[in-house]
């Protein structure tokens, strides 16, 4: 089962190293990891997706809590979070296929960032499943490059971690 862990850490050199080091050392598998500074410039938020049983997620949470640079850790409930991932995808495109690609982009809500005689660069921010669907739809046109950020998430409603 995929679970989303949100971690607030001190915004210092080496913190990310410490966290990823912890994951490899304890044999926890990371599905994705995204990091960025919060409203407070001294604090960063790391969103980690792990795919594993409850017992392991509990261990991850406890071990993260022990790190001095970690301020707060919270596992977000799947039904109670807003999670988004950004994908930039470059696909082969020519006069024949460009219109079909545009149609799919419209349906999925993707934006065109760049265009050349032989390619299009598209951008979509959505839930990971939706990105997978979009990627699958683009595959027949021959994908040149894909970059995904990993999910960032916050919980719904007025609460914060």
């Amino acid at each position: 089962m995929k679970q989303t862990i949100s971690v607030l850490v001190e915004n210092q050199a080496g913190v990310l190293n410490r966290i990823t080091g912890l994951f490899s050392r304890r044999a926890f598998n990371i599905e994705s990891l995204a990091v960025g500074v919060t409203d407070d410039p001294t604090v960063s938020r790391i969103t980690i997706i792990v795919d594993s049983g409850n017992n392991m997620v509990e261990q991850v949470e406890k071990q993260l809590n022990k790190l001095i640079e970690v301020i707060k850790v919270r596992t977000l409930e799947e039904t109670n979070l807003i999670g988004r991932e950004l994908m930039i995808l470059k696909v082969n495109a020519n006069n024949k296929t460009r219109q079909d690609i545009m149609t799919i982009c419209e349906i999925m809500g993707a934006k065109v960032d760049d265009i050349s005689p032989t390619s299009m660069t598209l951008e979509l921010s959505a839930e990971p499943d939706r990105l997978d669907t979009f990627q699958a739809m683009m595959r027949p046109f021959s994908i040149l490059e894909v970059a995904r950020t990993g999910v960032i998430a916050v919980q719904k409603g007025g609460g914060k971690i």
Binding site: G14, N17, R18, G21, Q59, K62, N65, I68
Partner: protein, 567 residues
């Protein structure tokens, strides 16, 4: 007040009431050692032969005194030589602050002479690491490092100062704040809210649940783990055990947490645990483990461990709960506080039938008669002649298990052994730390010929500082524990374990200016040990034993706890 940065480092050590430091100087840490020269009346520095010895000594000092140990080393190889010592302290939750210096800022990251990323290397084996690039942060970092090392579950911390930070012309603002008050300064304040830089207060509901579980139990059993020792909770644990009237098994790290000669003791538990302890684990209906993480040497087969019992874990570290063995109930808090609360609520219980089942399984300790000197005879002589409060530091292997099985440890810090990391060569350094911190106690260092050969260079330290440490070498000409596995599991294929080589440990001791004794019989052992107790200097007893002696009992790794390979 403006003072030199290096002066601030020394003042911060004095804030923490540090009076002893172990270490080894070098190029990048020269400024710190230059300042130490000004402070030599207040801070006693013990210069070892090797940084690893200094690290083990600071660790042994911390374990035996309950204070935070401090160790200095230079950059590069000096720092990496510490790593085995840091890992040893980390695995056994021993509070040590390691201070290293690195190259100057402009040389950092250029693969400069004696440069290494020690904060990166030490990351997985410390509670925290600090790379200090700004001298103004020195007091804050020093205070935080000591607070982190000593509180909660203790452990090592490493501070790496860049050399330019310690330059003699660098001055910083500094005010003396005694350690009892510095919890309210600087970054520690924020840390105290996010990490509770104190032991978490136990939940009273959890305590009541356990009181209830105890009242329903007919066959309760206790495990005394390292947390009892580190938390200095031996008195509370003893009251608890006596109120419960339950058998007590002691882990390697728990040695000293419960009196070894107490009528409720069943001895060690796990791989080399006694039959009484292991059978009790298997047959009890309630198992309460205090400060014990159920390592693979205790809960050999986690799925079947204490399968008839409700398992209760009491630990200061939340991440230990359910890590190795799934528990039925747990209490988070320091062993001392949790046991105090439990003792207040518990009536006196009596479990005569259960004790009658378990306690007679303890092995009678009748020394075997043998032509050759046996390990038991050696230990028996030490136990008889040495004072009861003698501190024992061990290395790792057969002699370690024999020592722990045979001696009775009565107070925390009496047994110094590398239980978690299993570091060969730990013993002599640890003994130096223990003797430095406890000059009035007799310190015996038991070791094997394999272990002793690793770090016997520290005999120079023993001689120089006039530390009358008695080293007893269990010399069987082999890596005994590995040979035992080869004998039992690898069809007697003794690959590279026979140590048919020098040195002559008696001559070696003499070369270092110490006394050496060759021991081949019980009588010689008695004579040599009596002389060693009176010698007033370090002594090495080279005890020649048979290489096929084995540690009994033994359960193979991963096997069921009562599936004895050897009885």
């Amino acid at each position: 007040m403006k003072i030199r940065a290096t002066q601030a480092i020394m003042e911060c050590l004095l804030e923490q009431e540090v009076d002893t430091v172990f270490g080894y100087p070098g190029g990048t840490i020269l400024n710190v050692y230059d300042e130490l020269y000004n402070y030599k009346d207040k801070i006693h520095h013990v210069l070892t032969s090797h940084e690893q010895g200094a690290a083990h000594a600071a660790d042994g000092y911390a374990r035996s005194t309950g204070k935070v140990g401090v160790c200095f080393a230079t950059s590069g190889p000096g720092a990496t030589n510490l790593t085995t010592g840091i890992a040893t302290a980390y695995m056994d939750s021993s509070p040590v602050v390691f201070i290293t210096c690195n190259v100057t800022e402009p040389l950092l990251g250029k693969d400069s002479f004696q440069e290494v990323d020690i904060t990166g290397i030490a990351m997985p084996i410390t509670k925290a690491t600090y790379l200090v690039r700004d001298p103004q942060t020195i007091p804050d970092v020093m205070r935080q490092a000591f607070a982190v090392a000593a509180t909660g579950r203790p452990g090592p911390v490493l501070i790496d100062f860049l050399k330019n930070v310690t330059a003699p012309n660098v001055e910083i603002d500094y005010e003396f704040v005694p350690w009892t008050k510095n919890r309210s300064c600087g970054s520690i304040r924020a840390l105290a809210t996010s990490h509770e830089l104190k032991a978490p207060e136990p939940n009273l509901g959890d305590i009541d649940t356990l009181v209830q579980m105890i009242s329903q139990s007919e066959r309760p059993m206790l495990i005394c783990g390292g947390g009892v020792v580190r938390g200095r909770a031996h008195q509370q644990f003893r009251t608890f055990a006596e109120k419960l009237d339950a058998p007590v098994a002691i882990t390697v790290m728990g040695g000293g947490g419960f009196p070894g000669g107490h009528p409720l003791t069943t001895g060690m538990v796990g791989m080399h645990g006694s039959q009484a302890s292991n059978v009790a684990c298997n047959e009890c209906d309630l198992l309460i483990a205090v400060g014990c993480r159920f390592s693979d040497r205790v809960a050999l087969q986690p799925e079947s461990f204490a399968s008839q019992a409700k398992i209760v874990q009491i630990d200061i570290d939340r991440s230990e709960i359910d890590k190795n063995v799934l528990t039925d109930h747990h209490i988070i808090g320091s062993a001392k506080r949790v046991l105090e609360l439990l003792n207040q609520r518990l009536p006196q219980y009596s479990h005569p039938e259960w004790k009658e089942r378990i306690l007679p399984l303890r092995e009678p300790s009748i020394p075997r008669d043998s032509e050759r000197l046996t390990p038991k005879q050696v230990l028996e002589v030490i136990r008889r002649l040495a004072p009861q409060d003698t501190i024992v530091a061990t290395d790792v292997g057969q002699h370690q298990m024999w020592s722990i099985q045979h001696f009775h440890f009565d107070y925390p810090g009496q047994l110094l052994t590398s239980g978690g990391f299993g570091t060969m060569g730990f013993g002599l350094g640890a003994a130096i730390g223990a003797k430095t911190g406890n000059p009035d106690k007799v310190v015996v260092h038991t070791t094997g010929d394999g272990c002793f050969r690793m770090n016997c260079n520290e005999l120079a330290t023993v001689e120089h500082y006039h530390l009358p440490i008695i080293t007893v070498v269990f010399n069987n000409g082999t890596l005994g524990m590995v040979r035992q596995w080869q004998h039992l599991i690898y069809h007697e294929r003794y690959s590279e374990t026979t140590l048919d080589r020098g040195p002559d440990f008696v001559k070696l001791a003499e070369a270092y200016g110490l006394k050496g004794f060759r021991v081949t019989s019980r009588l010689e052992m008695e004579e040599a040990f009596s002389q060693a107790l009176e010698a007033g200097c370090g002594c090495v007893l080279d005890c020649h034993l048979d290489m096929d002696e084995m540690v009994r009992p033994m359960v193979a790794g991963g096997a069921h706890i009562t599936d004895f390979l050897l009885k």
